[in-house]
């Protein structure tokens, strides 16, 4: 079998060679605990400090405003619970949207169980939130607005700066999960006017298991994990130095050169639009998410009469690695809450397909993938149409 065409960069991305190279010393000779006083510890601490400076520079933040975590899910839980509890004396109302990642839904659910009120602001048919609707949802007891920068399933980009500004005017904290946005969208936290912003390394050719959280100076955030005083007492636990070094290097490589980043985004946007054009030729399907305000690497679709999991399996066996975009590849029966919230007809929601490109994706790969999607959609549809027995009561083989 030939090497697979990997079009699932929103799930995770391959580790970039330069990143691995930067990490290796911290997995071998610089093994020290960054909190130790001795030379080995100091060496590790240096790697951690340099990484923190590097990440802070990309965000336009101060190094002391950046902590390292285990990734986006921890970021989300720490930020939402940490900010909500820190503000709980002033109010217990959190505003979020109907299309957030399950980590956001779960963290908000935890708060609800403790008496907080959570409002989910609806989105339009493209999955976009109207800042005016956020403003409207904010009440006297609101302390936090939590929103994803770009949606992981459909790639729609939210007007974060506008939402950041309106929250700041009202003295409300903001948490923005920028995991999917990290390779392509503006991240300057002062422009975005956000208080807390999360990143994850493995979506941008870094290692899995490490994330970074920007916490604006002066923002109270209650730690969610008991233990030592690491990461300015915001995140207990021995620092993952190699991970932090990997994250910093991945972020630097992706964003260090603004012109190169813009060129790469344009290149991916071109491939994306080519792919969208090809898929639009297929019958009974449609693009999900915003046609233009979407991540340069994200193509998401729904096909009528198709089970997304079947389509992904079919593509896999043809050498194209894709996703349904939601958790149903793991065999869950739940349809995507994101697509439902966008008003995609329930009979189409199950037929979702997400193709997400990366730096290493070529035009030849997206062209071949488009052909194979056409083949597999037709095949899966044909098989679904041959269903002979619908009724449980029909006598068998009579």
């Amino acid at each position: 079998m030939t090497v697979a065409i990997y079009l699932d960069h929103a799930a995770t991305s391959p580790l970039r060679a330069e990143v691995l190279e930067a990490m290796l010393p911290y997995l071998t000779e610089h093994f020290g605990n960054a909190s130790s006083l001795h030379a080995s510890g100091r060496r590790a601490r240096q790697g951690l400090d340099e990484s923190r400076e590097s990440v802070a520079a990309v965000l336009g933040a101060k190094p002391r405003e950046v902590i390292f975590t285990s990734g986006a899910t921890e970021n989300t839980n720490l930020a939402i619970a940490g900010l909500a509890w820190a503000g709980s004396a002033r109010g217990r109302h959190v505003v979020t949207t109907t299309i957030e990642h399950r980590a956001v839904l779960g963290a908000c659910g935890n708060l609800e169980r403790h008496g907080f009120e959570v409002t989910q602001v609806p989105v339009d048919r493209y999955g976009q939130v109207d800042p005016a609707a956020v403003a409207e949802a904010i009440g006297p007891h609101t302390t936090l607005v939590a929103i994803g920068y770009a949606n992981n399933e459909v790639g729609t980009i939210q007007p974060i700066a506008e939402i950041g500004a309106l929250c700041r005017e009202r003295g409300i904290r903001t948490y923005v999960d920028a995991t999917q946005a990290a390779a392509a969208l503006p991240l300057a936290v002062d422009d975005l006017q956000v208080d807390v912003l999360g990143l994850s390394a493995h979506k941008i050719e870094g290692p899995k298991g490490v994330g970074a959280l920007f916490i604006r100076q002066g923002t109270n955030l209650i730690p969610q994990q008991a233990g030592g005083s690491q990461e300015r007492q915001r995140r207990a636990g021995t620092e993952n130095v190699a991970g932090a070094v990997g994250l910093a290097m991945a972020l630097e490589l992706a964003r260090g050169d603004a012109a190169a980043m813009a060129a790469e985004s344009d290149r991916q946007r071109g491939l994306r639009d080519g792919l969208i054009g090809r898929l639009a030729e297929l019958p009974d399907g449609e693009l999900t998410g915003h046609p233009t305000a979407r991540l340069p690497n994200s193509v998401s679709w729904v096909f009528a009469g198709v089970e997304g999991g079947d389509l992904v399996a079919a593509l896999d066996l043809e050498g194209v690695e894709a996703s349904t975009g939601s958790a149903c590849t793991s065999g869950s029966a739940e349809p995507s809450h994101v697509l439902l919230a966008m008003g995609v007809p329930p009979e189409r929601v199950r037929g979702s397909l997400r193709l997400t490109l990366g730096r290493t994706t070529t035009a030849d790969e997206t062209a071949r993938a488009a052909d194979l999607v056409a083949t597999c959609v037709a095949r899966v549809r044909a098989a679904a149409a041959t269903r002979p027995t619908e009724s449980a009561t029909a006598p068998a083989g009579a």
Binding site: E307, G309, D310, L311, A313, A314, D316, L317, E318, C328, T329, S330, G331, S332, A333, C376, R379, V380, R381, A382, A383, A384, T386, R387, P388, T389, A392, T393, P395, A396, G397, A398
Partner: protein
């Protein structure tokens, strides 16, 4: 090259079946794709899932086996279809006063229909393989379903509804093996399922108590009613007709001197009729929904052997085709307690001819 989908339950039989196919594939045979079907939901978040055949724990085992034998592996969610075609049908059978046949329903509606069709669609496969103990051969111009070599494990009783199209696209790699051989091979291949215990219970009724399920799926709580004898005399009280099956002896709560069995269930009047062992014996019964694997019956009237429940002995009989879908069986010696809803499966020598579903006489 052809491609075959191996249905993997997470038990030892389907694991070894897949392993045998993977071994053939490595030697240039058909490519193999492993599939585990999620048939019912997991326990809630944070709770240890119940262990049964087809639990998510069994799914984990199936995935490990697929990794070890080096085949692609997918999870197929069939909760909706399994719920309707197997679980609801199971509950409905009890509510109709009949005995359900969930394994047969799962084979007919899920493994050899839904899976087979989706496998063809999604995996561009040419057929399905399972860990059933049965054999397939092409003889005298038709595909034949044959008993397994291991008579103690033969599962043709649950497969009588297969047709020519399905048999042509089905593989039973264990048909010529015995259970000890299968276990030995699993151990030799160090499969994590080598010592998985035999599943004896119905996979979606782990504790063997289906009463809760009737309530849950069909809001049937059970209404007490009379237990009567052959003369119509009330001899006891039952908890609800659907809680009983024909042939049942235990749990009747009767203090009669002689052993009593459920002979008949009357949903319309909520009555359970009991009888002695002799009273449950009969030499004639009728089945509907008849099906012949070869496509047609051997004759309008023919000799065969009939089996009326899994693991019971086959009895010689004369079979007559009546009407559009009925079979009338007249046995040479008495059979005991043919239960409406159960399969009557017909054999000739090592061949399973087909069968029907026993109806109330």
């Amino acid at each position: 090259m052809a491609r075959i989908v191996a249905a993997m339950s997470g038990g030892v039989d389907s694991s070894v079946a897949a392993a045998l196919l993977a071994r053939e594939a490595a030697a240039g045979g058909d490519e193999v794709v492993g599939v585990w079907m999620r048939t019912h939901p997991d326990a809630g978040e944070g709770w240890e899932p119940r262990k049964s055949c087809c639990s998510s724990e069994a799914g984990d085992d199936a995935r490990r086996v697929a990794q070890l034998i080096g085949i692609p592996f997918f999870v197929l969610n069939v909760e909706a279809e399994f719920g309707a075609e197997v679980i609801d049908a199971f509950a409905d059978a009890y509510l109709e006063g009949t005995t359900p046949n969930p394994c047969q329903a799962c084979n007919q509606k899920i493994k050899f229909d839904l899976l087979a069709r989706r496998a063809v669609g999604a995996y561009a496969a040419d057929g399905v393989a399972t860990g059933h103990y049965a054999r397939i051969a092409h003889r005298d111009g038709a595909w034949r379903l044959l008993r397994a070599h291991d008579a103690a494990k033969d599962q043709t009783y649950f497969l009588w509804n297969l047709d020519q199209r399905q048999l042509a696209a089905t593989r039973f790699p264990l048909g010529e093996m015995t259970k000890p051989e299968v276990r030995a091979l699993a151990a030799e291949l160090a499969l994590p399922t080598a010592t998985t215990p035999e599943s004896q219970e119905i996979c979606f009724v782990p504790a063997g108590d289906y009463r809760a399920l009737l309530d849950e799926r069909r809001t049937y709580a059970g209404e007490p009613g009379p237990i009567v004898d052959a003369s119509g005399q009330q001899v006891g009280t039952h908890t609800g007709y659907a809680h009983y099956t024909v042939g049942q002896r235990r749990g009747l709560g009767l203090a009669t001197g002689e052993a009593a069995y459920v002979r008949e269930i009357r949903p319309a009047t909520n009555e359970i009729v009991i009888g002695t062992r002799e009273e449950l014996a009969t030499t004639g019964f009728v089945a509907d929904a008849r099906h012949f694997i070869a496509g047609e019956a051997p004759a309008e009237r023919f000799e065969a052997k009939v089996r009326i429940r899994h693991r019971s002995t086959d009895v010689a009989c004369e079979v007559t085709l009546v009407g559009t879908d009925r079979l009338v069986m007249e046995t040479r010696e008495p059979v005991w307690g043919p239960a409406p809803g159960q399969s009557a499966v017909l054999y000739r020598g090592d061949e399973c001819l087909g069968g029907g579903r026993i109806v109330r006489s």
